[in-house]
């Protein structure tokens, strides 16, 4: 998918995770809050992994390593 869509998607995931975090902390379930934060981080990392690989490839070819 194109670059801008990716940014929007990650931003939306960030907002949802923040709201879920607050809802869970307010009702006293802090371990679940921490779990959802970690889950959000994992999901975003999985989305980004491909792009980071491409980034490193580009840098390698740029500096001709």
């Amino acid at each position: 998918m194109s670059g801008i869509d990716l940014i929007f998607k990650i931003a939306a995931i960030g907002i949802i995770v923040a709201v879920l975090n607050q809802v869970l902390i307010r009702s006293g379930r802090e371990e679940q809050a921490m779990m959802t934060t970690l889950a959000g981080i994992v999901v975003v990392l999985m989305i980004i992994a491909n792009e980071i690989a491409k980034l490193f490839n580009t840098i390698k070819t740029l500096f001709q390593f």
């Binding site: 998607k9 709201v19 809802v23 869970l24």
Partner: protein, 173 residues
């Protein structure tokens, strides 16, 4: 594009409804416990002042309740009238087990109700009244716990349902 939109709306609606259903369970439990208490008062009056037969008293008590918890009393009175069970304890226990999925009551509430059935119909009037009073006091403790759990959980599961729906849609969109 349209299909994606319809799909996301379906997912969000389904997840929110799931959250609402779970949260409404927590909301209905205290009020059901209260109706059981009212019906027990009616039951006690029937037995003490009118000396009614057991299944008639149960049926009158069941009519006094106005939500799903009244099913327990009416089904127990039917069981006893038909005579399909070997003892009142079994008839009461079967009624409780049958109606449990239809009510919002807990596993603890179920055990308390089943243990009420053990003394039901076995002793004299004074013993029955004491048994009923014991059950009422147990149910009051349960009702307090249910109120607390409702305050904590009702809003939580409603919001979780809605937000979870949005999260799934955004990740999969």
């Amino acid at each position: 594009m349209f299909l994606k939109l319809i799909g996301s709306i379906l997912v969000i609606t389904a997840s929110s409804l799931l959250g609402f259903i779970i949260s409404s369970d927590y909301a209905r439990r205290p009020s059901q416990l209260r109706t059981i208490k009212t019906m027990l008062q009616v039951f006690e009056n029937e037995i003490y002042f009118m000396s009614s037969i057991l299944h008639e008293a149960l049926e009158k008590a069941g009519k006094a309740g106005d939500n799903e918890a009244a099913l327990i009393f009416t089904r127990a009175s039917e069981n006893m009238r038909k005579g399909t069970f070997s003892s009142t304890e079994r008839a009461w226990a079967e009624a409780v087990k049958y109606c449990m999925p239809r009510t919002a009551l807990d596993k603890e509430d179920e055990e308390i109700l089943v243990s009420f059935g053990k003394i039901l119909g076995t002793t004299d009037i004074e013993g029955q009244v004491k048994n009923i009073r014991l059950l009422i006091s147990h149910l009051e403790i349960q009702e307090k716990k249910a109120e607390e759990s409702r305050k904590r959980n009702e809003a939580l599961f409603r919001n979780l349902g809605i937000l979870g729906g949005f999260a799934i849609v955004i990740i999969l969109f």
